[in-house]
């Protein structure tokens, strides 16, 4: 049985199922041979009877039984007989029978081998054997040998046609095609009326079809058309259609496919539907769809053959084929062709919808909408199509369904686009389409789904009122649990968003915030507004309607928020506790914790927060995101301790605050707040005057958290506290650490300043000056920069670092040109340094600069010190002339020289006096006194000059000399009197100006010599300056 099927399949090679009919016939033919042979084998006695055309009607099963018992015996008997009686007239019959026995034997063996092969092959597939079994061999050589003897030696044998047929068949089976064809050709030529011919033609046609020799195949297939009663007739038509189809000759192919359909219609009636007919129709459609002729070609073909009832079916299939193969252009042309030639066909909308569905909206949105419009127009109420098909209930119903589907599809498409791109325009289009649908089909089965989507669109359009209304309807009427849950949840979120829209200040906050007064303090417990109440009810209804709702935690969270924002903390806490208790693994549980802590924070109940958070952590909730959540909760927890400490600090509970900070760092060393906690503890200790505690805290922070952002500030505070502890060594160490390692930070400037102060306290003026310079350089304040320069300069002076001092003053002058007082002070300071360095010329330049700057200002400074500097500079400049004046002495007795010296000196005396008097007018007490003294000194010097003039040589007697001295004295006395006068003026001016200085003392000293009777040498007292060292009085009590 299997073999036969195999033979059939192998030889005919048809894959199409619809060739079964011809296969069955072919099978029947093969079976007949076997039956015949078996009848011979079954009863030798009946061999004679076999000469007649007696037919055996037994079953295959019987053949197998007979074969098993008699096959070998029969073959041997026939072979013996032929050998024994070669000339017997029964030899041809014997050969004939023997050929069949051999054929059968081989056929049976093939069956068995094939079955065994199958079994082994299955074992191989199951992995029970390692190698593929050998394929069964086909060896008909014995049958072929015997048949050739028969055909060649007995040309007139009565069953020659059968023999030739069997010979051809076995050759084909054996793969000896040429000999097989020769045997078949002999049969065709010798027996033109043989009933085997239609089969032989079919076999030859198949052979050439398989060999791709389509012309020969068509020839042999066409020969079968002469035998319309042949069981191969239908198959051959089919094969011919196929052959032309392969040759892309679609008109000829279609003719044969139509013939095939017509043959079946004729044979079984037009209502008969078979896969062959369907296939024929499909291939016609495919053929035209694939050919350039297209739908028009198909239409013309049918016109040419007079039309067929199923032509619309084929033409519509062409449209569908185009649509399904993305040939949109051809699809649209074809559907237009259909509309043109079959405008009222009830099925056209269905085809059109298929094409519409094949249009990709993202590529051809406009086209899609155009086609949808066309369709809706075609099918709408009152259209001609409707009118024509009004009695076709099915067509009308289908049309309605199509319109609904298209409306919904279009709306859904725009909804999706809106969601993808968050495009408001798309949402609006979607909303309009849903609205139209709902208006037109209020009772349709799709209404709830459409309303759900409509609600979602409205939500996205922020029309929360509309969304609430639609979600409510869906939630109320749906019987689908999933939709009920979704709409219920959406209802809650819609309410949530409506509240945000209605109370933006209250609800649009990053974190949930309760009602606070203008000072940020918590207001009293409030109550829910009407809408908030309804929102809370929606939350409650969600819980009731969806007892197993997957989003209960989220809904509860929303409900809690309503209470939270209205300061109804007890109610909110109740809900949050429920979330945390029932849904510890949900994200909202963590958020609930945060909100719980937030509420406690508003209530300043930090102990509660910490205790509660710790408890929560210990419960091991939130397992999936345990790391993140634990971190977050720990952060909240330690943050609350931090805040608690901070609040204590702000409330003035300093010791408690410090302890709390220290506890935080100790108990939660890994907390993100621990470093700041230690730092803040340090600050509090400082505030409390406990610098040793502060040092401990800062040191601990620096050791434990070296990467803390508070590192530099902690270092600075550490240094400050060491300084407070009077541990200046460590203070300077840490200040220097900052100035060297963290010189870019804001602390470097202050660190330099403090280090400078300490250095100065230790009389390390040079170091102090360096630090002040660095402080000034880092300072952003111009005044500080300037003052640091002058301070540094004065300290350099103290340290004897005169060049550095000169540089510092010079920098001040260059950088602070607008500061007249400062610049003048710097010049005078530079001049004084040059005086120390005995560089008079440089000093003179500086004095000159002082005077120039002072004069150039146009408005003399009100600063008394600057006035003093100006007077000092002028005084010093005059001193040069004074020195020259004092150096003029007469050392010879030459009268001419005497006269010249006298005149020059007197001239200079006058000049000096004038210049000193000008200085007095400058308004500087000190230099006024000094100038008066100097005038006196100059007069005294003139008197001395006169006394010191050598006695002229001409005066050679004592009398003359005495006379000369007397005259000199007379000349000198007025100068001495003037000197006394100015010394006295100097002392008087000193008393008047309340300025006692060295010049006063010098003047007094001069007077004691010039007028000893009036001015005695006096001793100098030691006035007592005494520091105030006393026990402090703390004032009255109860202030």
């Amino acid at each position: 049985m299997i073999l036969l099927i195999l033979i059939y399949t192998m030889n005919l090679g048809f894959c199409a199922e619809d060739n079964r009919a011809s296969k069955v016939d072919f099978y029947k033919g093969a079976k007949e041979f076997i039956n015949e042979i078996n009848s011979i084998i079954s009863n030798k006695e009946e061999l004679k009877k076999m000469e007649s055309d007696e037919k055996y009607e037994g079953k295959v099963e019987n053949i197998e039984i007979l074969e098993q018992s008699n096959s070998e015996l029969s073959k041997k008997s026939f072979e013996d007989y032929i050998q024994k009686y070669p000339n017997s007239s029964f030899v041809p019959d014997a050969l004939y029978r023997l050929s069949k026995l051999y054929y059968e034997e081989t056929a049976q063996r093939i069956i068995k081998d094939t079955e065994n092969y199958e079994k082994e092959y299955q074992k191989f597939l199951r992995g029970e054997t390692q190698s593929l079994p050998p394929e069964p061999s086909t060896d008909y050589s014995d049958a072929i040998r015997v048949l050739n003897m028969l055909v060649n030696n007995y040309p007139n044998y009565k069953y020659r046609d059968e023999s030739l047929y069997l010979l051809g068949y076995t050759y084909f089976e054996q793969g000896n095609i040429e000999k097989g064809i020769a045997a078949y050709q002999a049969l065709i030529s010798e027996y033109p009326k043989s009933d085997k011919l239609s089969e032989v033609y079919t076999r030859l046609g198949e052979h050439y079809f398989d060999s791709d020799d389509l012309s020969k195949a068509v020839y042999y297939y066409s020969q079968v058309l002469e035998h319309p009663d042949s069981p191969y007739y239908e198959n051959v038509i089919y094969k011919l259609a196929w052959t032309y189809y392969h040759k892309k000759r679609i008109d000829e192919a279609s003719s044969f496919f139509v013939s095939l359909i017509d043959y079946n219609d004729k044979k079984f009636g037009s209502d008969y539907v078979s896969s062959t007919i369907n296939e024929a129709k499909n291939y016609i459609a495919i053929g035209y769809a694939e050919s350039p002729k297209g739908i028009k070609g198909a239409y013309d073909f049918f016109r040419k053959i007079g039309g067929r009832t199923y032509e619309y079916e084929i033409l519509s299939k062409i449209c569908e084929l185009y649509a399904s193969s993305d040939r949109l252009k051809e699809a649209l042309t074809s559907i237009a062709f259909l509309f043109e030639h079959y405008p009222y066909n009830p099925d056209t909308p269905v085809i059109h919808e298929k094409i519409i569905n094949s249009i990709k909206p993202e590529q051809n949105l406009k086209l899609l909408n155009t086609e949808r419009d066309k369709m809706i127009k075609l099918l709408e109420d009152g259209s001609v199509w409707r009118e024509k098909n009004k009695d076709n209930t099915k067509a009308i119903f289908t049309a309605e369904q199509i319109i609904k589907r298209q409306l919904i599809a279009a709306a859904f498409y725009h909804q999706e686009r809106g969601e993808d791109k968050n495009d408001r325009k798309e949402y609006i289009t979607a909303a309009q389409l849903y609205y139209n649908f709902l208006k037109k089909y209020p009772m349709d089965g799709l209404v709830l789904g459409a309303r759900l989507n409509y609600a979602k669109v409205l939500f996205n359009l922020k029309d929360y009122d509309g969304a609430i209304q639609e979600f409510s309807v869906v939630e109320k009427h749906t019987e689908d649990e999933k939709i009920r849950e979704e709409s219920g949840f959406s209802l809650v979120t819609s309410w949530q968003n409506k509240l945000k829209k209605q109370f933006p200040r209250k609800y649009l906050t990053k974190e949930i915030i309760p009602m606070l007064d203008e000072n940020g303090k918590l207001m009293p417990v409030g109550s829910l507004s009407y809408n908030e109440g309804v929102a809370a009810t929606a939350c409650k209804e969600y819980e009731t309607d969806n007892p197993n709702g997957k989003r209960i935690p989220q809904v509860l969270y929303v409900k809690a928020e309503l209470y939270f924002r209205n300061n109804m903390f007890d109610e909110a806490r109740g809900v949050y506790n429920e979330i945390i208790g029932r849904f510890p693994k949900e994200k909202v549980a963590v958020d609930s914790v945060r909100n719980m802590i937030a509420m406690y924070t508003y209530e300043n109940n930090y102990t509660k927060i910490e205790e509660w958070s710790k408890k929560l952590l210990a419960s091991g909730g939130m397992d999936k995101n345990i790391n993140r959540d634990e971190k977050e909760i720990n952060s909240l927890l330690t943050g609350s301790v931090f805040k608690s400490a901070k609040a204590m600090d702000e409330e003035g509970r300093f010791d408690e605050a410090a302890n709390e900070y220290v506890r935080l760092a100790k108990q939660y060393p890994k907390s993100e707040y621990s470093d700041a906690a230690l730092y803040n503890a340090g600050l509090i200790y400082e505030k409390r005057g406990n610098s040793s505690g502060a040092i401990k805290s800062y040191k601990s922070m620096l050791a434990r958290y070296p990467g803390s952002k508070n590192t530099v500030s902690a270092l600075f505070r550490l240094a400050v506290n060491y300084e407070q502890q009077l541990d200046f060594y460590h203070a300077v160490l840490f200040y220097n650490n900052i100035t060297k390692k963290y010189w870019k930070t804001a602390f470097a400037s202050d660190a330099n300043y403090n280090a400078a102060r300490i250095s100065r306290a230790f009389n390390q003026y040079d170091k102090a000056a360096e630090h002040y310079m660095a402080y000034g350089a880092l300072s952003k304040n111009k005044k500080e920069r300037a003052s640091s320069l002058t301070l540094s300069a004065s300290l350099y002076e103290k340290a004897g670092k005169y060049l550095k001092a000169l540089n510092a003053y010079d920098r001040y002058i260059k950088e602070n040109k607008a500061d007249l007082d400062g610049v003048i002070m710097s010049h005078i300071s530079r001049a004084r340094i040059y005086e120390i360095l005995r560089k008079k010329n440089y000093a003179y330049v500086e004095y000159n600069s002082v005077v120039k700057r002072f004069n150039a200002s146009g408005s003399p400074s009100a600063n008394a010190q600057t006035v003093n500097y100006n007077a000092e500079a002028r005084f010093k400049m005059v001193s040069e002339l004074s020195s020259k004046y004092h150096s003029i002495k007469v050392k010879t007795t030459s009268v001419k020289e005497m006269k010249t010296a006298y005149e020059v000196k007197q001239h200079l005396l006058q000049k000096l006096s004038d210049q000193y008097l000008k200085i007095i007018n400058l308004g500087s007490p000190e230099w006024s006194v000094a100038s008066l003294y100097m005038i006196g000194l100059d007069f005294q010097n003139f008197a001395d000059f006169l006394y010191e003039i050598p006695v002229p040589k001409q005066l050679n007697t004592d009398d003359l000399i005495n006379e000369y001295k007397s005259q000199i004295q007379t000349q000198a006395l007025p100068y001495e009197d003037s000197a006394i006068e100015y010394y006295e003026k100097s002392i008087a001016e000193s008393a008047r100006l309340k300025t006692l200085n060295d010049w006063t003392r010098k003047a007094k000293s001069r007077l004691t010599k010039l007028k000893p009777e009036q001015y005695k040498e006096s001793k100098e007292e030691i006035p007592v300056l005494y520091p105030s060292i006393d026990i402090k009085v703390y004032g009255f009590m109860g202030k």
């Binding site: 300025t995 105030s1028 060292i1029 006393d1030 026990i1031 009255f1036 109860g1038």
Partner: protein
């Protein structure tokens, strides 16, 4: 004998303190008593602001606090304030009595202990002051105020090391206690470590210390380290902050004296003497100022007064010697006083000090 007296004081203080517990159990004070107290306090503050000159405010304050005590004799604050008022008026005996009462009714009244110590110090009784301070520190250890008072007494008694240790201990314990910085600054000053002294004084100011004493001390240091002229600002600030502090007045007067403003200096010295008539420094400076304006008798009176108050004050002898030599021609006495000065100063002065030149001049003149 002194020891016995000190013991009596201490014993009486402890005996007083026993009564405190009994008083504490009494009923709360009637509201009216507090109102009288507030009014009295306002008068006391007004008296303080007047530079302790407004007699009317003083009387009202005294009578107010006395009225409070009549209603509640255990009101330690009222007793303390009365003691403070008497102290300001230099009525030391009554001040002492009142302060002791305050301590009796409040055994841990550190301000009262401190004031009592100061009272003894002002009276020149440093031993009593020291005994009270030590006893108070023992009774109330760790009190910044009492520790600082003791440190000041160490300074006064010349024990600068102990004073320094004590002041540093206070600061290390409580960096906010500004008076300890003042004390430490004073110690550095007396050790001639002027830069450090100024640095430490500055720290007291950073801790919001209010008091002219610190400015006057910085003024002295500035005068010594920088320029005389720039010290004036500090002296003025000192007077502004503590107009009633005799040291502050004296130092400003000295500044005026040094620049030849004798009138101004005399005014300040007189103010100093008003607040502390026994202030030897101010008396000596007054004498110098009188000498400059040639009021020699007045000058001599002040020298003598100073000598009676503190015969161990070295500068007195030097200046008096100058006066006697230059203006009284009493070189013999002058020589004696110059030598006394050398004796008292000891190693504090060098061989180049002008006192030796003056002695030589006198001796030369004698010959």
């Amino acid at each position: 004998m002194k020891k016995i007296y000190i013991l009596i004081i201490i014993t009486s203080l402890f005996a007083c303190s026993k009564g405190v517990e009994v008083v504490k159990t009494q009923a709360p004070q009637p509201k009216v008593a507090r109102d009288i107290y507030s009014v009295a306090l306002e008068h006391a503050v007004a008296f303080e602001k007047s530079g302790f000159t407004d007699q009317k405010e003083y009387s009202n304050a005294i009578s107010g606090f006395q009225e409070v005590i009549l209603k509640d004799k255990s009101n330690a604050d009222a007793w303390f304030n009365i003691g403070s008022l008497f102290f300001c008026k230099q009525d030391m005996q009554r001040s002492e009595e009142a302060i002791k009462k305050a301590i009796m009714y409040r055994s841990n009244f550190v301000e009262a202990y401190s004031l009592l110590t100061k009272l003894y110090l002002v009276q020149g009784n440093i031993q009593y002051a020291m005994s009270v301070a030590e006893m108070a520190n023992e009774t109330l250890p760790d009190s910044d105020i009492l520790m600082n008072s003791l440190a000041v007494l160490y300074i006064k008694s010349g024990n600068l090391d102990s004073a320094k240790k004590m002041a540093e201990n206070i600061i290390k314990k409580n960096t906010k206690f500004a008076p300890a910085y003042v004390t430490l600054g004073n110690i550095y000053y007396l050790n001639h470590n002027y830069e450090m002294a100024r640095f430490i004084y500055q720290k007291a100011i950073e801790q919001d210390y209010v008091g002219g004493d610190i400015y006057t001390n910085i003024g002295i240091i500035t005068s010594k380290l920088d320029e005389k002229g720039s010290s004036l600002g500090y002296f003025m600030s000192a007077v502004e902050n503590s107009p009633n502090n005799p040291d502050v007045r004296n130092n400003l007067g000295e500044y005026y004296l040094s620049v030849g403003d004798y009138e101004g200096s005399l005014k300040e010295f007189n103010m100093a003497l008003k607040f502390n008539p026994r202030m030897v420094q101010a008396l000596v400076n007054t004498a110098i100022a009188y000498t400059r304006v040639k009021l020699f008798d007045e000058a001599e009176q002040n020298y003598k007064k100073a000598m009676s108050y503190d015969p161990s004050f070295a500068e007195l002898y030097f200046n008096y010697a100058v006066f006697l030599s230059d203006h009284r021609g009493d070189n013999t006495q002058a020589l004696s006083f110059f030598n006394k000065f050398i004796l008292l100063k000891g190693k504090e002065i060098s061989d180049k000090h002008r006192v030796y030149r003056y002695i030589e001049e006198i001796n030369r003149a004698k010959k």
